[in-house]
Symmetry: C2
Subunit: 203 residues, 2 copies
Amino acid sequence: MNENEKTTENKILEASNTVFIRKGYSGASMQEIADEAGINKALLHYYFRSKEKLFRAGFSNVFSKFVPAVTEMILSDKSFAEKMDLFVDNYIDTLHENPLIPLFVLQELNRDPDNLFALMKSSGMQPQLLIKVILEEMEKGNIPKGDPRHFFINLLGLCIFPYAARPLMQRIFFDNDQEAYDAFLLERKMVIKNLIHKMIDQK
Amino acid sequence: MNENEKTTENKILEASNTVFIRKGYSGASMQEIADEAGINKALLHYYFRSKEKLFRAGFSNVFSKFVPAVTEMILSDKSFAEKMDLFVDNYIDTLHENPLIPLFVLQELNRDPDNLFALMKSSGMQPQLLIKVILEEMEKGNIPKGDPRHFFINLLGLCIFPYAARPLMQRIFFDNDQEAYDAFLLERKMVIKNLIHKMIDQK
DNA sequence: GTCTATATGGCGATAGAC
DNA sequence: GTCTATCGCCATATAGAC
């Protein structure tokens, strides 16, 4: 499907995601979204009545991109260590293709947490499943016992932070060299997997 | 100094930080800041000419809160492991007292990275110093060799992420129980220190 | 469905009285 | 220094022609 075959609705949704992610909710304007979509401002309201409704329509789509990495990992019948490797690889790849999403999610998460939480549930994400898997592994003695929530939040922080803080980190540590930072981000797959292995290693 | 003895300028700065941190730059309005400060909108412009200038005046102050944790650590003559412990304890304490700052910084970092970078330098932060310390320890053979930037960004991600993503994490994993999440955040001091020790442990 | 034109309101910023 | 009143602009949203 090329550019001309896209429905107007799809063009709007793509454009709105681009702009909302770039500028945040308050920073984005309907005019800018219309320009990005190559249509008129009034048409946005024809399709999505209000800015808020347009935002929500696009947002669920964005959020759901990160669901497959988790579910694929949980459903696989590999060992726990291999599941973690799979998760990190998938998650970083998805982040790398959608590098602006973390900041976008963090912003929205502050603006309207209830909305975000609702979207997360409707997107089919089930973090409790992962917690359950971790607890089972602890029971089986495969990994050290502890609060699985620390484990999971460690994992997320290690993966997400370098993307959310990219503009600053790239300037501080890489002379604002974009390619060098991209390479660094991909290196992190190995770094994080090694660290996870140390976390689940029994001494 | 009680509420009445504060200068108007100070009241404005406090109010602007509160509102900017709560709503982000675009989301905050001069009217809301004036209300928060208990003064008139025009007075904001009398003291700080523009919204942008008001923002910058308050921001440098906020950012500088995180500098002491780093410098104190670097200047101490303790072992590397102890330095890391010191850093984590100080950093998490500061985050805990200013829990909204991470998100605020991340937002601003996307809106105007150059401004943020300039402020960071003028606040006296010298991340290169930490990199240098880590490299020296690697040379001495005290910690495993590797890219010190991964080490540092791991550290930051582990500390900062749970604060930046708090509204979501608290809902997902703690039934939105604020006290439970606060306790969890403070537990992380130990969790992160243990993890750091595993990172610097030579097998 | 898509456009131009416009209504309506809030925004940042300023003028000027006190 | 502090206020009220207001300017000019741009935001979201709507009306109505085609």
